[in-house]
């Protein structure tokens, strides 16, 4: 099995390292081209700046191939910026992939000085959650399962083959959320 990490900008190396830490036999592939996208069984859209990622996905014509793969069932996981790119609605902005039935608000927790580490349950596992200038999920659609909440707000959600977190499991030493995503990919 090969798992890709969209490698245009952001916490790419951290995700690749986490994938390898779960299982060395799984290929951890940086994805920058259509060919690389075709070679993976699941895709992580990492943390970074969503405006930068949008710009580069458009310029290098990756929007349609990625959207088609996800619609065809490829498991995808967006962390932070990745959540923004997947959401159906983004406050004050045109949504991008519009594949996940949630509303999000960018930088809703504040500026860098307001970034924080929280903790809570994710699918019955107690984990640390690293929030960095994080987006907030302000509405969750009927077909969306909430996997984790923090302070009464959903911070990890899943809709079929699509998962998104407003926090960054790749910034911790705990690879259980990555394990969860890899198990989603195993079922494809």
């Amino acid at each position: 099995m090969n798992i890709g990490v969209l490698a245009l900008q952001g916490s790419v190396a951290e995700h690749l390292k986490m994938i390898s830490s779960v299982n060395k036999k799984i290929g951890a592939i940086p994805v920058r081209t259509i060919d690389e996208l075709a070679s993976v069984d699941g895709l992580i859209i990492p943390g970074g700046e969503s405006t930068t990622l949008r710009r580069l996905l458009d310029s290098f014509k990756l929007y349609t191939p990625i959207k088609e793969r996800i619609m065809a069932g490829m498991p995808v996981w967006g962390t932070c910026a990745g959540l923004i790119l997947l959401a159906n609605r983004v406050e004050g902005e045109t949504p991008y992939l519009s594949l996940l039935d949630v509303d999000v608000k960018r930088n809703a927790y504040g500026r860098q000085i307001d970034s924080f580490v929280g903790e809570g349950d994710f699918d019955n596992m107690y984990i640390n959650m690293v929030f960095i200038r994080a987006p907030k999920i302000t509405r969750v659609g009927d077909d969306v399962t909430v996997l984790a909440e923090y302070d009464g707000t959903p911070v990890a959600v899943r809709q079929d083959n699509i998962m998104a977190t407003s926090f960054h499991p790749e910034m911790t030493r705990d690879n259980r959320v990555h394990k969860y995503f890899l198990s989603m990919c195993g079922k494809e």
Binding site: Q9, G10, E49, R55, Q112, I113, I132
Partner: protein
């Protein structure tokens, strides 16, 4: 006490983590909200708000200080990406002011006129992260020991000449390789020789990298310059005067963003370099007076 220590440890991590989010990206100098919007739309991962770009500071002379908070606030309002701003070396009150207006990152920068000829800011006293310039491993580790969450090469700002940034990046890489090859009993002497704390030298020896992200800065003017710095091992690139001192800032900004994302692909680099118009004029660093070299500031 344990809770307080936890909080400080978390803050240190969160501040280093934000720099990790910026990796593979371009941070652009902007002097007003209009330029900040151009930078954001071109795909910058952050902007550096300052009143004059380094090339103009160089030309105008005089004392260069922190920017007016009003101007910084206008830029914060105009864009959704992180906003950074510069303070003078050692000027911890300028840093307090930037923290009060919730700046995302503070650059304790040699581009401004130093306020203290002996000491850098004790950055561990701040919640806001700092980025600092360095010419070699010792300087980088001294800044990290003082609390910097991100390092950049100094290069030679405002020259449009990448030679010094290349020199600093290569020096850093060479020294990291040197440290990694040493026996453990040699590390203390090496730490003393480069004037760096032993625990950080040990970290470098073990991990073969700095404990924080390392960007390139100082003299990057073209997409090829940016990709050169990435291929030499930079995690991302700061572009100062290079964009808004060129003939077509918007196209150049977009081209440099693409060049950093696809730094290893010459066909893409050729494509983005095509027909960009004139780059900033640039200065020959060799012919400069030592007094004109900004990289000499800081210690």
């Amino acid at each position: 006490m344990a809770v307080k220590d936890d909080k400080a440890a978390n803050r240190k991590l969160l501040n280093r983590n934000l720099a990790q989010m910026l990796k593979g990206g371009v941070i652009m100098d902007v002097t007003n909200a209009e330029q900040a919007i151009i930078a954001e739309q071109a795909g910058a991962v952050a902007v550096m708000a300052l009143e004059r770009v380094p090339a103009d500071i160089r030309r105008d002379g005089g004392v260069a200080r922190m920017s007016d908070p009003k101007m910084i606030a206008e830029i914060q309002k105009a864009v959704s990406i992180p906003v950074m701003a510069k303070v003078r070396i050692g000027h911890f009150v300028e840093a307090q002011i930037l923290e009060a207006i919730k700046i995302d990152y503070i650059d304790e920068s040699e581009v401004l006129t130093p306020a203290d000829d002996m000491y850098h800011i004790d950055k561990t006293k701040f919640e806001t992260p700092f980025v600092c310039g360095a010419r070699d491993l010792g300087e980088a580790l001294r800044r990290i020991a003082e609390g910097a969450s991100m390092i950049r090469t100094k290069g030679e700002a405002g020259t449009g000449n990448v030679v010094e940034a290349v020199k600093h990046m290569r020096k850093m890489r060479t020294q990291i390789a040197e440290v990694a090859a040493l026996q453990s009993e040699q590390l203390a002497t090496y730490a003393k020789d480069i004037g760096a704390p032993l625990d950080l030298v040990r970290y470098v020896a073990k991990n073969k990298s700095l404990p924080v992200v390392n960007f390139a800065a100082g003299g990057v003017a073209t997409p090829a310059d940016a990709a050169l710095m990435m291929q030499l091992g930079a995690d991302g690139v700061f572009v100062g005067s290079g964009i808004f001192k060129s003939a077509d800032p918007k196209s150049r900004a977009e081209a440099i963003v693409k060049a950093v994302a696809y730094y290893g692909d010459p066909a893409i680099l050729a494509g983005v370099s095509y027909g960009l118009g004139e780059a900033m004029r640039g200065l020959d660093v060799e012919s400069m007076n030592d007094n004109d070299r900004l990289a000499k500031r800081g210690w």
